[in-house]
């Protein structure tokens, strides 16, 4: 609960300061509270405070902790002394002043310089601030009063009053008590002094007196220098801790972040290397999608991609499995692949992939890198095991870690702050530890390592140092513009060689690329592409309908050197044989030793429906079935006999007949019964919807703010008019849950109590029950 004081302080902030507050703590305004009191209340809530504290660096957090330990408002002078004592080197200013400014901006500290206090809720969230235990009053709260009385008698003989208070008073100056204990007991205290303040001892709640204490732990328990907090746990009361620390709240505090250490890199070289890797990564994603579009892997029953499919992808891309997992995950995060198709589902490239593919390499990279930066999925976890020891698969839902994007951004931020430096892993971790001490833990360490190695793979960093385009990506600049000049420029020529290879010394222009992909096989990829022509590959080009002359012409035009004789020979040689054997489909044939008779049949007008084709002087092929052919020819006055597959004459049978052709596949267009009217409406609505979409995207309100209501007959006649005139109308409609909604429709047809119309608000054709239409209004 926010105190009045705090609320007033908030109220006294200037608009600029409040803007700073809400932009630094955006969770305070989601949703926007009704008033400043609400804002103050929310700022004091434990979750909001915890999130704000998580953002603090080591030093600023230390300032908060110092105030938290003090319990009461402190002046800036006092604070300066305390913080200054804790610093390992240098003085507390100017770091302290700027930390205080920051804390005020965040509303974690408020009040004037002579009475600084923590915002409400902050102390509660910080348990064990700076590794100090609870105050004695808190620590001994649950002890039985009798035991406390006995303890007070021991540590403060001759005092009067409740044991709890006497004990607390004695512990507020614990020097004499600490001096009494044995060296072993002192050692135990020193272990707990700098936190964590809790330890485990068996039977912590035992009752001991100073006189009867036998072990070091008992000495401490009897004097209240340790307080039992459970059956087997003890804690060091804060007063004792502070005494042991010599009054300092922290030790070896640093006012500035630890310096980054690592190897220096030439910035241009690092940038180039990163760009090269960026190019490689984009190609890897493209290759993956191309492969998956023809041979998609299945979706596992549990979701995700099978281990074998991952191995296969790694093999095909010629990368280690973790890189393959990264490629797959980034492609997924960028919306380039998704589950779909098939009965059980398959991982397929999306339509987004087709849009992505036509963009420039630099733009494609930005799309991938941004997706990677912001995804909460952790590709690095692929192949590890979850809590139940099941392997984590790529594309599986369990790969999500909420803190991943934050850690990634923070890690890259560290790198971006040190251009031209490839900091060591330890040094990055140490920096992150200083920058966000409250987020430490094995997960962050793991995520940081993933982020570092993945950034290198993606080409955000090169040789371990941040690249210019990586920095632009991180800071919201134009990363594509920074990257583009470093990427190889498309070339419009290849080098043809007599060993039937062609080398494209860079990425090819799209037209040439298509030609090469069609007529040659890729042998090696990278900055350049090596192609090999073979009989099969040349035949592929010919199969695609290109002539030998055309192919050689294209090659000659785009070759920096003359076309080698071997290559032109290969192409003409394949062309010579190409298509010499023709294969087609026919369901029956007519053969006759007398070509004149076949001439007669083909000339016969009645034979047109049989769709006969002359294959040779004595053979006709037909697309009708054998039985139909025999019947038709008989009807035309000829006397055909049917032949079996082996050429034997078949005796005609009058009983059951079977079709000999394959069952026709039902045409999808007629099966769906797409009404021409609906189709027309859809096209018109598409045009109109396009315009409306650009104008507004919110659901449409009723023209007068209410749902229109009219007699049913009026509704129907209005809709009929609209159908006739082909105009859009606005309707009120009760959906299947009974909610009143409003739609903009292009009505197509009305029958059987339903209206079929193109729903512009949903961008689809729907059927609407007439009785649920509450009203119609023209637009």
């Amino acid at each position: 609960m926010a105190s009045m004081e705090f609320t007033e302080w908030i109220r006294g902030r200037t608009d600029a300061q409040l803007r700073a507050l809400v932009s630094a703590r955006p969770e305070l305004i989601t949703p926007v509270p009704a008033h400043l009191e609400g804002l103050a209340g929310r700022a004091a809530s434990p979750s909001a405070v915890a999130r704000a504290l998580d953002r603090l660096d080591r030093f600023t957090l230390a300032v908060v902790e110092t105030l938290a330990v003090r319990e009461t408002p402190a002046s800036k002078e006092e604070l300066r002394a305390l913080v200054g004592a804790a610093l390992a080197e240098g003085g507390p200013e100017p770091a302290l002043s700027s930390a205080l400014d920051r804390l005020r901006d965040l509303a974690l500290v408020y009040g004037p310089d002579d009475a600084l206090d923590l915002g409400p809720g902050v102390r509660k969230v910080l348990d064990d601030p700076a590794g100090l235990g609870p105050r004695a009053v808190e620590a001994f709260r649950h002890h039985p009063p009798e035991q406390l009385d006995e303890m007070a008698d021991d540590v403060a003989p001759g005092t009067e009053g409740p044991g709890k208070e006497r004990l607390a008073a004695a512990l507020s100056e614990p020097g004499p008590l600490v001096a009494e204990v044995s060296a072993e007991a002192r050692g135990a205290l020193d272990q707990l002094a700098w936190g964590p303040p809790t330890g485990r001892v068996p039977n912590a709640r035992r009752e001991v007196r100073v006189a009867s204490a036998r072990s070091p732990i008992e000495e401490l328990l009897a004097r209240g220098l340790l307080a039992a907090t459970g059956e087997e746990s003890v804690t060091l009361p804060r007063e004792v801790g502070l005494y042991l620390r010599g009054g300092r709240v922290h030790r070896d505090l640093r006012a500035t972040p630890p310096p980054l250490e690592g190897a220096g890199r030439d910035r241009a070289l690092a940038g180039r290397t990163a760009a090269g890797q960026a190019f490689t990564f984009v190609r890897a994603v493209e290759e993956l999608c191309e492969r998956w579009s023809v041979d998609p892997p299945g979706v596992l029953r549990t979701g995700g991609l099978g281990v074998r499919d991952l191995k296969r992808a790694a093999g095909e891309l010629d990368v280690p499995e973790w890189v393959a997992a990264l490629v797959i995950e980034v492609a997924h995060a960028a919306g380039l692949v998704a589950a779909g198709g098939g009965v059980d589902g398959e991982w397929l490239p999306t339509q987004g992939y087709d849009l992505w593919r036509v963009r420039s390499t630099a733009e494609r990279w930005v799309a991938l890198a941004a997706a990677w930066l912001h995804t909460d999925r952790v590709p690095g976890l692929v192949g590890e095991r979850d809590d139940r020891d099941r392997p984590l698969n790529a594309l599986h839902a369990d790969l999500r870690r909420a803190s991943a994007p934050g850690v990634r951004t923070a890690t890259l931020g560290v790198l971006a702050a040190a251009p031209g430096l490839a900091p060591s892993r330890e040094s990055v971790l140490a920096r992150l530890e200083w920058e966000q001490p409250r987020r430490r833990g094995p997960l962050r360490e793991q995520l940081t390592e993933f982020a570092l190695r993945e950034a290198e793979q993606l080409g955000v960093t090169g040789l371990g140092a941040m690249s210019a385009h990586g920095r632009a990506l991180l800071e919201g600049g134009d990363a594509a513009a920074a990257l583009a000049p470093l990427l190889p420029e498309p070339v419009d020529h290849v080098l043809l060689q007599a060993d039937l290879t062609a080398v494209a010394p860079g990425p090819l222009t799209s037209e040439l690329n298509r030609w090469m992909a069609l007529s040659a096989d890729v042998e090696s990829k990278g900055g350049a592409t090596v192609y090999r022509f073979s009989e099969t590959s040349v035949r592929r080009a010919l199969d695609a309908g290109h002539g030998a002359e055309e192919l050689l012409g294209v090659l000659a035009r785009h070759s920096a050197t003359p076309v080698p004789q071997t290559l032109s020979y290969l192409v003409t040689d394949v062309a010579r044989r190409h298509g010499r054997i023709r294969v087609g489909t026919a369901s029956a044939y007519v053969r006759c030793d007398d070509p004149a008779l076949l001439d007669q049949i083909t000339a016969d007008r009645r034979a047109a429906t049989l769709r006969l084709r002359r294959l040779a002087p004595t053979v006709l092929a037909s697309r009708s079935s054998r039985a139909a052919l025999v019947d038709s020819l008989r009807a035309m006055g000829y006397a055909p006999v049917a032949e079996s597959l082996d050429g034997d004459v078949l005796i005609s049978q009058l009983d059951s007949r079977r079709t000999e052709g394959a069952a026709p596949v039902r045409g999808t267009s007629t099966a769906n019964g797409l009404d021409p009217e609906v189709a027309a409406a859809a096209v018109r609505a598409l045009r109109a919807g396009d315009a409306a979409h650009l104008a507004r995207r919110e659901p449409v309100d009723a023209p007068d703010g209410r749902l229109p209501r009219g007699p049913a007959t009026a509704t129907i006649s209005a809709l009929q008019d609209a159908i006739r005139q082909g105009v859009r109308v606005w309707i009120g409609y009760l959906d299947s849950q009974g909610n009143a909604t409003s739609r903009i429709l292009e009505p197509a047809r009305m029958e059987g109590g339903y209206l079929t119309a193109y729903d512009e608000t949903r961008a689809a054709v729907h059927r609407f029950a007439l009785h649920r239409i509450t009203g119609v209004a023209g637009l």
């Binding site: 090269g276 190019f279 890189v323 060993d499 990278g526 350049a528 050197t561």
Partner: protein
């Protein structure tokens, strides 16, 4: 800064593409040659491959990862994939973690600078039996007889050992090069020096580039008794003649150890065949290896080294070894064994470059395609699959084309090479030329070769016995009518027959006659790949053009 204007493109599959017309191409080739194998050298873009073997070769030659990375980055036109750089560094770091050393007390020991690697290796079941007592955390005894096997096994595990155990000097024997009227060519000198400095290894030079002389130069370095292993008797004779001519060795000092003679002299030339002869399942001539304290072993045509010789070589790791070959391509893919048992590649030079410098004759390669007649096509279609190649390779049409070609090259020295004896006999008859085949006596062979050399004979028909090591200096035209299926190295060897520099400085011609639309054509394509990759462009012509005399 935009992309570099370098001559090199680094591919993600670890191939390097070098644009040869680029002004920095020569410089770049020098920089990358130590750590990348030249894979293909067609006319415009040469392909090198960075393989672990090549990187370890580079380490063995004293290059470090930084130099490699630097060469890649400074010559590369586009940014170098980071993964590749990391991989280079990691691979190179694997070499030398394990070392074979000579310990004054314990003899041969395997030591390690990285205990984890040694532990990993020791756990390998393959290696355990070859190792003796563990001497300490970082070293273990190796049975001296397993020196080669250990190296072979370690290479397979990906932890190649650096062999610092040194060599025995062998029995001294004075050998000098007699450079009277001829001189060691610069590349021959370089090759011999590179070998000697490396200790052991392989020299790759094109046919006709004088590999025998490199062998002789290596012997002059070693100045010790030498065992030379060659492919066959004729080639043994040629080695002998050549050594007498080029070195201070006299006829009495050189022995021949073959099927017919069993001489053991300070320099002994033995054939692979006799070494691999078994009697009652035992190699009966193994004692040759121990007959003398050999200071050097020369392996001629290393790419043909038969498997038993590999096994024998494993026991000879304390002796210096030099391998000579035109190509490291082995049809059986045992290049790794050559690396670990004979030694890393110490020298190689692209064929075309040698040609440009005039050390080997320029050659035109022509593939002549004959069309089977209709009856032949029918017969071919019906032939059993194992008979098909023989059928289409020996079609009579080839005989006519051969005749036409011989006519065309009247006055030049022509070799006709084939696989099938019937076909060769028929050709011999048609061309009125002698035929040399497996059952031709050695004496007769040498008489014919001499006559051919003296230009008394203009046309010679030979079977595959002449594939290797037969010095026919003035053959300027070779016509290949059939071959051992798709063997790439055979094709290279056969071309080598005509590559010796000609006295008139003229070029050579190499014809391959191939039946169109048959397996013959497929095999031919496969055979030609190696040469095409070495920069020999095949021209394809139709048989009709040849017969028509165009």
């Amino acid at each position: 800064m935009s992309v570099n204007d370098g001559p090199l493109i680094v591919q993600s599959d670890k191939t390097l593409l070098l644009e040869v017309d680029h002004e920095k191409a020569g410089e770049c080739r020098k920089a990358i040659a130590p750590f990348a194998e030249l894979e293909r050298a067609p006319e415009h873009v040469h392909t090198y491959r960075v393989t672990p073997l090549a990187l370890w070769n580079a380490r063995a030659a004293g290059h470090d990862a930084e130099q490699v990375v630097d060469a890649l980055i400074s010559f590369s036109r586009y940014p170098v994939p980071h993964a590749l750089l990391v991989d280079v560094a990691e691979t190179m770091a694997r070499y030398g973690r394990l070392r074979l050393e000579k310990d004054p007390v314990h003899g041969l020991v395997l030591t390690s600078t990285d205990r984890a690697v040694l532990e990993e290796v020791l756990r390998s079941r393959k290696i355990q039996p070859m190792l003796g007592e563990r001497l300490g955390p970082d070293s273990v005894i190796v049975h001296p007889s397993d020196r080669g096997n250990v190296k072979q096994a370690l290479l397979k595990l990906g932890w190649p050992a650096e062999d610092l155990a040194g060599y025995v000097d062998g029995e001294r024997h004075p050998i000098d090069l007699l450079q009277d009227g001829w001189a060691l060519r610069p590349y021959q000198q370089e090759a011999a020096d590179a070998f000697w400095n490396g200790g052991s290894g392989v020299v790759v030079l094109p046919c006709g580039a004088g590999k025998t002389i490199v062998g002789a130069a290596a012997m002059a370095h070693a100045r010790a008794t030498t065992l030379i292993l060659v492919t066959n008797t004729v080639s043994a004779h040629q080695w002998k003649t050549e050594l007498i001519k080029r070195t201070s060795l006299t006829e009495d000092e050189i022995g021949e150890y073959s099927g017919s003679k069993k001489e053991i002299r300070p320099v002994t030339i033995a054939t692979y065949q006799v070494m691999t002869t078994r009697r009652k399942g035992v190699y009966s001539h193994l004692e040759l290896f121990d007959a003398r304290d050999w200071g050097l072993i020369v392996y001629d045509e290393v790419h043909l080294l038969p498997a038993p010789i590999f096994r024998m070589t494993a026991d000879l790791q304390a002796r210096r070894r030099i391998g000579l070959t035109a190509t490291l391509v082995r049809e059986d893919g045992r290049e790794g064994d050559v690396f670990s048992l004979i030694g890393p590649k110490r020298y190689d030079a692209p064929w075309k470059e040698m040609e440009n410098q005039g050390w080997i004759a320029p050659a035109d390669c022509v593939e002549v395609r004959v069309t089977l007649t209709d009856e032949e096509r029918l017969a071919y279609a019906m032939a059993e699959s194992e008979e098909r190649y023989r059928f289409c390779a020996t079609t009579p049409s080839k005989t006519y084309v051969t005749e036409a070609l011989v006519r065309r090259h009247l006055g030049e020295q022509v070799l006709v090479i084939g696989q099938y004896i019937d076909q060769l006999d028929e050709l011999g008859e048609h061309l009125n030329a002698p035929v040399i085949k497996g059952d031709t006596r050695i004496k007769e062979r040498e008489r014919l070769f001499q006559a051919f050399r003296d230009k008394e004979l203009q046309v010679l028909v030979v079977s595959k016995v002449a594939n290797f090591s037969i010095d026919l200096p003035e053959a300027s035209v070779a016509i290949q009518v059939s071959g051992t299926f798709g063997s790439r190295q055979e094709e290279a060897q056969r071309l080598g027959r005509v590559l010796r520099p000609k006295s008139d400085g003229g070029g050579a011609r190499f014809y391959t006659i191939v039946s169109r639309d048959t397996v013959d054509q497929e095999f031919a394509a496969h055979r030609q790949r190696f040469l095409a990759e070495q920069g020999y462009a095949y021209q394809i012509v139709d048989a009709d053009d040849v017969l028509g005399g165009v």
